[in-house]
């Protein structure tokens, strides 16, 4: 008797369990798939929404959007070449300044700084990466711009004026200031990622070079940097992507002039600053659509740049502990 009830009970539990598992395991899997699907749809939706909104301008202006320098909302001419050039110039200035400094910082943080200071300094660098960009813009506009206008730019003019890239009136705000502020902003990104890539290099390799009699610089230049090359390249590309898309700080310091800057001291516009400046004032549908088309261009470029850079960084630092700044 008692065995029967036990068996009955077991089979009842089994049946209930099977029913439940049939319901909840696939249910759980479905739930996860739905969540993942929503996320994937969201990613696609960003592209689709921008394409739809930009369509009128794309159809109307076509390639003129990036081949013409005439951005003239009053006469419905929308050529954003000046902004593309402005973006390239500011990004180039930022990279020229930030890549060597960031790389040096990374090497110092990874090897040349007393062990006790490494963690606090690394945390400081990463925290500084979290300072909101609008704060950099405020500081650039109210503190750095007057100093540029009063001291740095007149000096650059007198010392390097013959190069022809420092013509014009030194008024502080302009392409040069935008580039410098961008450099300060992307430095933590460059330094933190390069540092992680460098730390990921096996210790044996460095110690092997030291044992062969290499000086501390030869260890870095002969072993560390060659092994970290693709990761550092990726860090640079990521930093470039950040510089290209940075909006609010640039908008505050670049001067917002819709033409190709005549020199580094001149004022200009980047693609991002153009959108930030004119979006809420765009009452003409074509104006708005053209701005969104510029945004679409920015989206495509930054997706390509970031995708490429992530592939590079990931391939080198896949197994590295502490690659958390991405």
């Amino acid at each position: 008797m008692s065995t029967t009830t036990a068996t009955e009970k077991t089979s009842r539990i089994e049946r209930a369990g099977r029913l439940q598992s049939r319901l909840s395991d696939p249910g759980y899997r479905w739930l996860l798939l739905v969540v993942a699907g929503v996320f994937g749809a969201l990613l696609l939706a960003i592209l689709i929404a921008l394409v739809l909104q930009a369509r009128p301008a794309l159809v109307h202006d076509g390639l003129g959007l990036i081949t013409s320098t005439r951005w003239d909302p009053v006469h419905a001419h929308y050529g954003a070449l000046s902004m593309v050039v402005g973006t390239l110039i500011t990004t180039a200035i930022a990279l020229v300044l930030a890549v060597p400094l960031g790389l040096g910082t990374a090497v110092a943080l990874a090897t040349y700084v007393p062990r006790r200071l490494r963690t606090p300094l690394s945390v400081l660098v990463e925290l500084l990466a979290a300072v909101p960009s609008v704060v950099f813009g405020l500081w650039g506009l109210l503190v750095v711009a007057p100093w540029f206008a009063g001291s740095l730019e007149p000096w650059l003019k007198s010392a390097f004026g013959f190069l022809g890239i420092f013509n014009g009136t030194p008024i502080g705000i302009g392409v040069l200031l935008a580039g410098v502020i961008l450099a300060i902003m992307i430095l933590p990104t460059m330094a933190a990622i390069s540092r992680d890539v460098i730390i990921a290099i096996p210790r044996d390799q460095r110690e092997g070079a030291s044992a062969l009699g290499a000086t501390s610089w030869q260890v870095v230049s002969g072993v560390v940097l060659p092994s970290a090359r693709s990761g550092i390249l990726g860090a640079g590309v990521l930093a470039a992507g950040r510089a290209m898309g940075e909006t609010i700080a640039v908008t505050m310091v670049i001067g917002n002039t819709d033409s190709i800057p005549h020199s580094l001291l001149g004022q200009g516009q980047t693609m991002a600053s153009l959108i930030a400046n004119e979006f809420t004032e765009a009452t003409e549908p074509f104006h708005l659509s053209s701005l969104i088309a510029v945004g679409l261009l920015l989206l495509v470029i930054s997706a390509l740049v970031n995708g490429g850079a992530r592939l590079m960084v990931r391939s080198i630092a896949r197994s590295a502990p502490g690659v958390g700044v991405l």
Binding site: L32, L121, V134, G137
Partner: protein
């Protein structure tokens, strides 16, 4: 001395007995001569290079620390009780504050987190349990999304919520910020959940728990600190963003609690007041900038402390 070839001190005897014509020994002598003559140069180069690396660390920290120092100096002098409790006043009238922007930022960021956290943790759970093609694509998508300029996300939020609702609203801003938080929350959740030991999950399953049950009752609680770190860092990242709010929440002079209407936010105050020529507005911008930095740093440091504590307890 039975086997002179193994005696390190016997090299000279060797040389003597076989003469200087031994190619290996003459080669060694040449290497030693070259090394000796280059040693000074190598050492000097190394010193200079190490100095330059350390100098670039200092050069990198100077402007960054200057931003902080300057904001603290100007910001603290702007702080007062009225600054945190009053509404903005027109330029020239003293006693204004940014209370509406503080409330606005809290509301906008709260709703952004409300949208981003469940989705982000869900995607993180999915990614942590799947290594297939779909997971690879989504992981890559999250990485790329992290690099999309925030102004583009702003346009997206505008297209999705402002165009359809036909007016600017705080909820559109929350949506934009949620998209910005998503990659951080997703990746942090994935890493945290992957960090939960396999045994724990399998023990839960062996006890007869269903996957959903084990995920909710065993895996997620174990991964909670790491997930929270991601959430805090995500909010920190979004809280400082201005560009996605420019044409969504757009700002307001008044206190608003209705997320379907325009709303003030702290980054917008820093931007709009900062570019004005009036000293009192600039002062308000500095005060708000400092408050914003404090919020962002508290969130980031909190997140880091959490994750370092977890790492210690696991290791």
């Amino acid at each position: 001395m039975s086997s002179p070839s193994l005696d390190p001190g016997g090299g000279r005897d060797f040389e003597g007995s076989f003469g200087a014509s031994d190619p290996i020994l003459s080669r060694r002598a040449e290497v030693q001569r070259t090394a000796a003559s280059q040693l000074v140069r190598r050492k000097v180069t190394s010193r200079v290079a190490v100095f330059l690396c350390r100098a670039s660390l200092v050069a990198a920290l100077v402007p960054l620390v200057a931003v902080l120092a300057y904001t603290i100096r100007r910001g603290v002098s702007a702080w007062s009780v009225a600054f945190f409790t009053h509404l903005p006043t027109p330029a020239g009238i003293a006693g204004g504050g940014v209370s509406n922007a503080i409330i606005g930022t809290l509301i906008i960021d709260f709703f952004a987190a409300l949208m981003a956290v469940p989705l982000g943790v869900g995607v993180g759970l999915f990614l942590s349990q799947s290594n297939g093609k779909v997971a690879y694509v989504l992981r890559f998508g999250a990485d790329v999304l992290a690099g999309i300029p925030s102004i583009v996300i702003g346009i997206f939020a505008y297209a999705v919520l402002v165009v359809t609702l036909k007016h600017f609203s705080a909820i559109a801003g929350s949506f934009g910020l949620a998209v910005i938080m998503l990659p951080t929350v997703t990746r942090a959740s994935e890493v945290a959940i992957r960090g939960v030991p396999r045994d724990v999950t399998e023990a839960g399953l062996a006890l007869g728990g269903h996957r959903a049950h084990v995920a909710r009752r065993v895996v997620l609680p174990a991964a909670l600190p790491g997930v929270l770190t991601g959430v805090l860092l995500g909010i920190a990242r979004a809280a400082g963003e201005t560009a996605p709010l420019l044409f969504t929440a757009i700002g307001s002079q008044f206190t608003s609690y209705n997320v379907l209407h325009p709303m003030a936010a702290m980054p917008l105050i820093v931007y709009f007041d900062g570019i004005q020529a009036y000293p009192d507005l600039q002062k308000a911008a500095w005060g708000t900038a400092l408050a914003l930095i404090v919020i962002v740093f508290v969130l980031s440091v909190g997140g880091r402390v959490l994750s370092s504590r977890v790492r210690r307890s696991v290791g």
